[in-house]
Symmetry: C2
C-alpha cells in the first residue's frame, strides 16, 4: 500500500471539529448537544439573501468569473466605502470562504520555509493553512491575564528572523474577541514597515465590535502595498454555509498572483454569490439587530461564566468568542468527558479545547474557546450544564 504524505500525517486535526464524532455519538443516543465549539450563528440569514435564492431564474448553474461576479464586487466596494475605505471592484477577489482567501494569500505571498508571525491563541485553521502552504508559523503569545491584548513590540522583534515575511492579525480576534486599538495597529504598522513584511488582516468580524469605538481596518493604515485583507460574509450575514469570502488588496502584483490560483480552481460558488450580493445593501437594521443581540449575549454569557467557581473569562470587545480558563487540568479531557459521560437531564455542551489554538506546547491546556452564538435561554442552559459538569468532573 502506498504511504500518505508526511505533510498529510503532520496536518493537525481541527480543534473545533475534532470532537465531532463524539458529539455525533451523543446525539445518536438522543442527547441534546449545545454547540459552543463552533462559530455557527443561529441568527437568520437576511431575508433579502434567502429571497434572492428563491428567485434564481437561470436554467444553467454555470461557472462564474474566477474573481467572482463584478456586481458582487461592486457591492463590496460600496460596503467598504461606508467605512471610509476606497477599494475598487478590481481590488477584490471573491473566494470560497475566508478559508480560501487565507490559503491563497499565503500561496501568493509566501514560499515554503518562509515565516509568518501570528498571535496565540489564534484561529487554529491558520496553522493548517500555513502547513498546507509549507509556511512556518512563529507565534507571539498574548495572555489571558492581559485580556489577550497585543504583546509588547519586543515580543515581535524576538521572533523575527531573516525568513520572516508576514504578520497575520485577526481583528477582532477569533478566538479571544480582542479588538486591536489604533495605537496597537500603529505598532504593527511600524514593525511591518521596518522589516518590509506583508500584513494579512482577517477582518471578518469587523461588524461585531462592542466597545463603542469606530473600527480600524488595516486598509486605513496607509501601507497599501503591504496589506492583504481577508474578508467574508459568513458571520456578518449569518450565511457561513454559502462559502463566500474575499481577498482585498491594493497591491496589484499580489492581486494578480492570487488570481492565477483562482483561475486554476475555476470559480467561487455561484449560488453563494447570489445570496451574498443580495445581503450587502439595505440591511442596516438587520446588522444593528445582530449587533445588539450578540452584545446582549456577550454581557450575559461572560458574566455567567465568571460566576462559575474557578472559571475566568476576559470581557471580549468583539467577534462572538471567548477563551476562558476552567478549573481543570486538561480541558480537552474535560470537553471529551462532557460529550461521552456527562448529561444533565439528557443534555450536554460541546466546547473547543483551547490548546489547539496555541502553537507553543503546553499553553492553554486548561482553557476552552466558546462561541456565544446561541440564544440567551440556550446560553443560560449551557452555563448551568457547564457548572454542573465541572462540579461532577472534579469530584469523580
Amino acid at each position: 500500500m502506498p504511504q500518505i504524505s508526511k505533510r498529510g500525517s503532520l496536518m493537525p486535526s481541527s480543534p473545533i471539529r475534532k470532537l465531532a464524532p463524539l458529539s455525533q455519538a451523543a446525539k445518536a443516543q438522543g442527547v441534546k448537544v449545545y454547540h459552543l465549539n463552533i462559530g455557527q450563528p443561529d441568527l437568520p440569514t437576511p431575508e433579502k439573501g434567502l429571497e434572492a435564492l428563491r428567485h434564481v431564474t437561470r436554467q444553467t448553474l454555470e461557472y462564474s468569473p474566477s474573481d467572482g461576479y463584478l456586481s458582487l464586487r461592486q457591492r463590496m466596494s460600496g460596503y467598504y466605502r461606508r467605512f471610509g475605505l476606497e477599494v475598487s471592484p478590481e481590488e477584490i477577489i471573491v473566494t470560497t470562504g475566508g478559508s480560501e482567501a487565507i490559503l491563497l494569500s499565503f500561496m501568493a505571498c509566501l514560499d515554503p520555509g518562509d515565516e509568518v508571525i501570528m498571535l496565540e491563541p489564534g484561529y487554529a485553521n491558520y496553522i493548517s493553512f500555513a502547513q498546507t502552504a509549507g509556511v512556518e508559523v512563529r507565534t507571539v503569545t498574548s495572555s489571558i491575564q492581559d485580556g489577550f491584548a497585543l504583546p509588547d513590540i519586543e515580543a515581535f522583534e524576538k521572533v523575527i528572523t531573516p525568513r520572516t515575511r508576514a504578520i497575520l492579525l485577526c481583528n477582532p480576534s477569533n478566538p479571544t474577541g480582542y479588538v486591536y486599538s489604533p495605537e496597537e495597529l500603529q505598532k504593527i504598522k511600524d514593525i511591518v514597515l521596518k522589516h518590509n513584511l506583508f500584513l494579512f488582516s482577517d477582518e471578518v468580524y469587523r461588524e461585531f465590535v462592542y466597545n463603542g469605538e469606530p473600527y480600524t481596518s488595516a486598509l486605513s493604515l496607509d501601507i497599501d502595498d503591504h496589506v492583504v485583507v481577508i474578508d467574508s460574509v459568513s458571520k456578518r450575514y449569518s450565511e457561513c454555509g454559502i462559502r463566500i469570502g474575499m481577498v482585498v488588496t491594493h497591491n496589484k502584483t499580489v492581486h494578480d498572483t492570487v488570481m492565477k490560483y483562482c483561475q486554476a480552481r475555476l470559480s467561487p460558488p455561484l449560488l453563494g454569490q447570489i445570496v451574498a450580493e443580495a445581503s450587502i445593501d439595505g440591511v442596516e437594521d438587520y446588522l444593528k439587530a445582530c449587533h445588539a443581540e450578540y452584545k446582549a449575549r456577550r454581557d450575559f454569557f461572560i458574566d455567567g461564566l465568571n460566576r462559575i467557581p474557578g472559571v475566568v473569562s476576559p470581557l471580549p470587545q468583539g467577534a462572538f468568542y471567548t477563551v476562558a480558563s476552567l478549573p481543570v487540568e486538561d480541558a480537552e479531557d474535560f470537553c471529551r468527558w462532557c460529550l461521552t459521560d456527562f448529561r444533565l437531564d439528557g443534555e450536554t455542551v460541546m466546547m473547543a479545547p483551547a490548546a489547539g489554538f496555541y502553537r507553543t506546547p503546553g499553553l492553554g491546556k486548561n482553557q476552552v474557546r466558546m462561541a456565544y452564538v446561541l440564544k440567551i435561554e440556550d446560553l443560560r442552559r449551557c452555563l448551568r450544564i457547564l457548572e454542573e459538569a465541572l462540579k461532577q468532573y472534579n469530584s469523580r
Copy 2:
C-alpha cells in the same frame, strides 16, 4: 514593497481563461464571442436540482459537515452502485468542485518534491494544482496521430524515478476526449502495482462515453488501496457553478488525511450540495438526452472541423472536448487574433491554445482545445467563423 512568492510568480496562467480579458474587450465592443474555450455546457441543470433551490426553507444558511451532508453521500453511493461499484458514504468526501478534490488528494498523498506522472496533453489545471502542492510533474506524451491513445508502457517506465509516487489519469480525457480501454487500464494497474504508486483517476466525464462500451472505473481495477477517484457533478448535471465534487477512495488513511484538510476549510458549499443531491436520482431520461445531444454535437462538429482545409481532429470517444491541429504556426497568436482583430458579421470564436495543456515546451503549438458545449446551430456558426478566420489569418 514586499515581494510576492517565487511559487506565485511561477504559477502558470490558465490557458482556458488567460485570454478572458481579450474576450471581455471584444464583448465590450459589441462583438458576439462563441466560447469554445471552456467546458461550460449550455444544457440546463436538471429541473429537480433547480426546484430544490427554490424550496430551501432553512432560515440560516449554516455550515455543513466538513465531508458534506450524509444524505448527499448516500445518493452518490447509490449512484456508484448503479455502475456496479460498492462505495460506502463513509468513503466519499464532498469537496468544493473537482478542483479541490484534486488539490487535497495531492496534499494528502504527495510531499513536496514527489513526482506524479500525467499524460500530455492533459488538463492544464492539474499542473497548477501540482505546483500549488509543490509536486513535480512528469509527462508521458500522447500524440494526435494516434488519436491520443495511451502510450506504450515503456514511456511510463522511462519517466519513473525513485520520487515517483503517483499516476494521474483523466478518463474520459479532458482535453482529448480519449476513453481508456480496459486493456489500457490493465497496463496502468500493472505499473501502479509494480512501483507501489497511487492512481488518481479523474472520472468526472464518466457519463459521456460514445463508443457504446461500458465505462471502466479505476475503482473496479481491484487495487483499492492505490486508487483515489476524483468526481464532480459539474458536467454531469450541467451545474459547474455550484462547485460540488468528491474524493472517493477505499483507502481509509487517505480518506482520513483528506478529511483533515477539509476540516481546516470548514465545509463544502451548502447550496451546491442541496442542488447536487436533488440532481442525482431519477434523472435517467435527462442523462440520456444530454448524452444524445453531446454525441450529435460531436459527430457534427468533428466532421465539420476536418472539412476545414488544414484542420485535423481525431474523433473523441468521450467527454466534450477535442484537441485539433490548425494550419497555423502559433495557435495562441491565432486565438488572440480571433479575439482582437477578426470578426465575421460582428462575431468571433474563443478557443484555448493547446500548448498550455502540454508540459513539454514546443509541443501542441499549432493545436487548440475546443469544447463542443454549444448548440449545433452555434457550432455550425463557429465552424464558419473558424474557417474564415484561418483563411484571413493566413493571407494577412
